[in-house]
């Protein structure tokens, strides 16, 4: 690990991925402007796909465009995508869809709340207030089914990851690390900080809408009491 700086790259950058995909990158950092271009291409591809298009996987700074190698190739896909990008899609004026996620911050459901408060020099109530005040956007899904990465944790409660992961963290845990927040969907080890528990199902179990969020949605957390949490998800 010499830590040499990488040479500057031109964007958008196209990279072939095996015989079936192109990775289209608009930058190399977690940034709203870069992510907006990812979302625009995602929408444009959904509206005007090329023959053989299979799926698009948006991430922070890039989007993977998958195609059927029997029906398309990298060059054809790149030409089509370049045309879409060149059309300078108007910046989406529409207000993003708002999703509300309930969260209970009670002691046994928020094992790291006190530690986060101590590290941030705040009281637990101030940590909760800061978390509730954040404006969160769904940047991408990753890692595991329904793991939506929500960017927008306010500066005062941004924490580096724990040095070691904690095992057996239950589904529904509200986790934060750096600028990111997520609500876990399965029992998993995690090095993120557990500040609450949500009864809101991200894996909805509904056939027509199996995942609560779309990439690009806005999320607001709503505090609920222990009694409301114990009563289960809102209907």
């Amino acid at each position: 690990m010499t830590g040499n700086p990488l040479p500057a790259r031109l964007f958008p950058a196209f990279s072939p991925v095996a015989e079936h995909s192109l990775l289209v990158e608009f930058g190399e950092s977690i940034d709203h402007g870069i992510h907006l271009r990812v979302l625009q291409l995602d929408k444009a591809m959904a509206a005007s796909p090329f023959a053989g298009f299979v799926e698009a996987v948006p991430a922070y700074a890039g989007i993977l465009i998958r195609f059927d190698p029997l029906a398309c190739d990298h060059q054809t896909a790149e030409r089509h995508i370049s045309r879409l990008i060149a059309q300078e899609m108007p910046v989406e004026a529409a207000v993003p869809v708002l999703r509300v996620v309930q969260v209970c911050y009670d002691g046994d459901l928020s094992p790291d709340l006190v530690a986060v408060a101590t590290a941030a020099g705040l009281t637990p109530e101030e940590v909760i207030a800061a978390h509730l005040a954040g404006q969160y956007d769904v940047f991408m899904y990753g890692f595991a089914p329904g793991y939506a990465y929500l960017a927008g944790v306010p500066e005062p409660i941004r924490m580096p990851r724990k040095p070691a992961a904690v095992r057996g963290v239950p589904a529904g845990s509200v986790l934060i690390a750096g600028p990111q927040c997520l609500v876990s969907t399965i029992t998993m080890p995690t090095g993120w900080w557990i500040i609450g528990r949500s009864p809101t199902a991200i894996l909805t179990g509904q056939v027509d809408r199996p995942f609560l969020f779309d990439v690009g949605d806005r999320v607001r957390f709503e505090r609920i009491s222990r009694a409301e949490y114990d009563a289960g998800p809102e209907r």
Binding site: L6, V17, H20, A56, P58, A61, L64, Y141, G142, F143
Partner: protein, 336 residues
């Protein structure tokens, strides 16, 4: 409806229900899953006369022992060089037969291969998730892993005598240790000597594997830059290098995104045969261009289609053969 009930006497680790998988949901964090060796899986189904993606069982090197408690059901086994013990009679995988009440079927590792597939002539009753019975290892969603004591219910179970016999094992089903890759998409994190080391190896499979991926042993190819890249999509076949310089080939149940750089990506058409390698087997990477990759994939698809047609043809020949046998059988039935 006729039903067959099987009891699981023993199931090794990683033995699970799979079907055609769960494509198109990567954007929600859901990998495609499905069989690790998709070609052998579909061969078992097609040879039996099923849809190519009907739910079946993926058997690991741990093996599987079933007992038929009631009813009878045709089955096919394809993939690897596994050994079957059916009611005391030993034979190789790549076969179609009928399991009857009171009989045991044991599937154990044989001379080669790491995965084999068991398909049934009927509908395996298993839970589905997002429209697929494929088991997602990390969550257990889908049809699920098999465990001792579990019962398998197969509805519409029937014999398929006309399909019984050997399934031809194509050369493409044999373990493949030369993996064609496109470089990247994050090869910029590696210095020229690391890229050269990746291309020259030598690499070997290790015992650190599951349905999410397999770790390789070989040269250290530590990234040459700070690992500050935002998470990028991962595909089945991504060769990811963690900060410690260890390379992992991601497989069917991979994470959908990751923050470690991918030095190369194995062509999807090479993955089915790759997973049949065993720990300590040699692996060689050969870089190809995007244009070459398309050509290789199309050639492989033509070969796979020809093999499938071959299975269909073999079936027609069998049917013709069975036609005469049925006539004889009819005489016996009439007499008895």
């Amino acid at each position: 409806m006729t039903q067959a009930i099987l009891s699981v006497s023993f199931a090794g680790p990683h033995v699970s229900v799979q079907d055609g998988g769960r494509p198109g949901l990567m954007r929600y964090g859901v990998p495609g899953s499905g069989p690790l060796d998709r070609r052998s899986f579909s061969a078992a189904n097609i040879a039996l006369g099923n849809r190519a993606d009907a739910p079946g069982i993926e058997v690991s090197l741990g093996g599987l022992v079933l007992e038929c408690l009631s009813g009878e059901v045709g089955y096919a086994v394809a993939g690897g060089g596994f050994i079957l013990d059916h009611a005391g009679v030993r034979r190789g995988s790549w076969t179609v037969a009928t399991l009857r009440a009171g009989e045991k079927l044991a599937i154990r590792p044989g001379p080669w291969g790491s995965w084999c597939y068991l398909a049934f002539a009927g509908t395996l009753q298993v839970p589905r998730w997002l429209g697929s019975a494929s088991t997602h290892a990390m969550s257990g969603f889908g049809g699920g892993r098999l465990g001792a004591g579990q019962r398998l219910h197969i509805t519409g179970a029937e014999r398929r005598e006309e399909r019984e016999g050997d399934i031809p094992c194509p050369v493409t089903a044999r373990p493949r240790n030369e993996l064609r890759v496109t470089m990247g998409p994050q090869q910029r994190f590696f210095a020229a000597e690391e890229i050269a080391a990746f291309n020259s190896g030598p690499w070997r499979m290790t015992g650190a594997w599951d349905r999410m991926g397999v770790r390789l042993a070989g040269p250290m190819i530590a990234p040459n830059a700070a690992l500050d890249m935002p998470s990028e999509p991962i595909v089945r076949g991504s060769v990811q290098v963690a900060g410690d310089g260890v390379a992992t080939v991601l497989l069917a149940d991979h994470q959908t995104t990751g923050g470690y750089p991918k030095i190369a990506t194995v062509l999807d058409c090479d993955l089915d045969a790759f997973v049949q390698l065993r720990p300590r087997d040699r692996v060689v990477f050969r870089a190809v261009t995007a244009v070459e990759a398309i050509g290789i994939a199309r050639t492989a698809a033509m070969g796979a289609a020809a093999y499938r047609q071959g299975l269909e043809k073999a079936r027609a020949t069998l049917e013709q053969r069975l036609l005469s046998e049925n006539l004889i059988g009819g005489v016996i039935d009439a007499a008895g």
